[in-house]
């Protein structure tokens, strides 16, 4: 059943403080809308539970990308297009730029936002594994003040987050210390654009003298939340990349993930692909080490 616009309210306060005041006045009553690529889909289908929305598309504070010597700070309402166009994001955070390039199509990249992807909390979101491996930190803000939260602590379960009812995500900070890493991003899906992933990988690593020095692996669509593969990382760190290590890594990946059967794929297929993608990355890392 299509939604009746007369039954909804959408206000455009135009500045961050006014947005926060509204949220504080009636916590949990309001839904924030930025580019609308998730909210409007639910709305049109008549499946949007909240009837009161706050427009944050036109809040300038949320649209900035700021550069500091040690980090980049991305406003939560920056679009995928803005991320793709940013030189530093492309150069130093290629996993994020790549994920942005295969999120939706161009029209959705022009509207979809990084903060929206985080708040929507889909375990299949393309950009979220990249945020995990880059050690992203979120700034959450309310009239009570602001707090920093490591992104890895944000998702507590399927579509469950640490965001309080009166809070919004103001920005996402990424430390600028990964530009020397070998990086690998892969999306496996029906097609790149406009298709939700069956499995997606973001991986970073360093290799010296044939030995893995630091490795950071995250997968989407294999668990109720975007998943960092802590166990697999620990198991391969300090090791030489050889066939037996790839086999061991595959087994640990499969043990660590919790994939399900759904309309896009099966748990069995996802487990096989997840292992393959991690092995593929380790081979790429080995090749980079051999060429160094």
């Amino acid at each position: 059943m299509r939604a009746d616009p007369a039954e909804y309210r959408l206000v455009s306060p135009g500045n961050l403080q006014a947005v926060l005041s509204l949220l504080a006045g009636e916590p949990a009553q309001w839904l924030l809308i930025a580019g609308g690529t998730d909210v409007m889909v639910l709305y049109s289908a008549g499946k949007l539970p909240k009837r009161k929305l706050i427009n944050i598309w036109n809040i300038p504070e949320l649209r900035q990308i700021e550069l500091f010597p040690d980090r980049i700070r991305i406003g939560a309402a920056c679009t995928y297009t803005a991320l793709r166009r940013d030189d530093i994001v492309s150069r130093e955070f290629p996993l994020l730029a790549t994920a942005a390039s295969w999120t939706g199509g161009i029209a959705n990249q022009n509207r979809g936002t990084l903060g929206g992807n985080i708040a929507n909390a889909s375990p299949a979101a393309d950009s979220l594994p990249a945020l995990l491996v880059y050690d992203a930190e979120l700034t959450l803000i309310s009239v009570r003040g602001e707090r920093r939260l490591a992104y890895r602590d944000f998702h507590s379960g399927y579509k469950q987050t640490a965001l309080a009812a009166d809070e919004l995500i103001r920005d996402i900070s990424l430390p600028r210390r990964f530009s020397g890493y070998v990086s690998h991003a892969r999306k496996v899906g029906a097609r790149n654009a406009q298709a939700i992933s069956k499995v997606c990988l973001a991986a970073l690593g360093q290799i010296a003298n044939g030995t893995i020095r630091d490795v950071r692996l995250a997968l989407g669509s294999v668990a109720p939340v975007p998943l960092r593969l802590n166990e697999t990382e620990r198991a391969v760190a300090g090791k030489k990349i050889e066939p037996s290590l790839l086999e061991m890594a595959r087994k640990i990946v499969v043990r660590e993930i919790r994939p399900i059967d759904d309309i896009r794929s099966t748990a069995r297929y996802r487990a096989a692909v997840a292992g393959n993608l991690v092995a593929e990355f380790l081979e790429k890392l080995a090749a980079a080490g051999a060429n160094a």
């Binding site: 939604a3 616009p5 007369a6 039954e7 909804y8 309210r9 959408l10 206000v11 455009s12 306060p13 006014a18 005041s21 509204l22 006045g25 809308i33 580019g35 609308g36 690529t37 409007m40 889909v41 709305y43 049109s44 289908a45 009837r51 009161k52 929305l53 427009n55 598309w57 036109n58 297009t81 390039s101 939706g104 199509g105 161009i106 029209a107 959705n108 022009n110 509207r111 097609r191 790149n192 654009a193 406009q194």
Partner: protein, 165 residues
Amino acid sequence: MNSLPGMGAKCEFLIAVNGETKMVLAHPMERLLDVLRNQLRLTGTKEGCGEGECGSCSVLLDGMLVNSCLVPVAQASGASIVTIEGISVHVLMSPLQEAFLECGGAQCGICTPGMILAAVHLLEKKPEPALADIREGLAGNLCRCTGYMQIFEAVAKAARRRVAK
């Protein structure tokens, strides 16, 4: 906060549509697509899926390609919108129209306005696109008739002609 509209209230929005400023009275959550088609009678913009997957409702919002089914009209307030009707005077229109015709790039026509908008958006940024650029630029626009190859060919042909001039 008294200035904020209440539940069920219509509001006035000023929107520049194809170069002409229009005053629209609408519920803020009305879809830009519906305002364009039903109030402004600009029915060249089509509704396909209604969920941002197919690109049939593509328009330019302040020069950016967007799916108008996913834009609440309140977010178009003060913005400049270009629809397929507005593109008819664009310098790229004739080359694209001719090339779509010659290459068989249009059949049933539902996707065509969106394809043209996406092609204009692409060619304004990349006058000489590679096939990969065209595929990417049009990836958000679905066509169930042509199989896409004729459309890609048409966009490439229009680009070549435009550059040659």
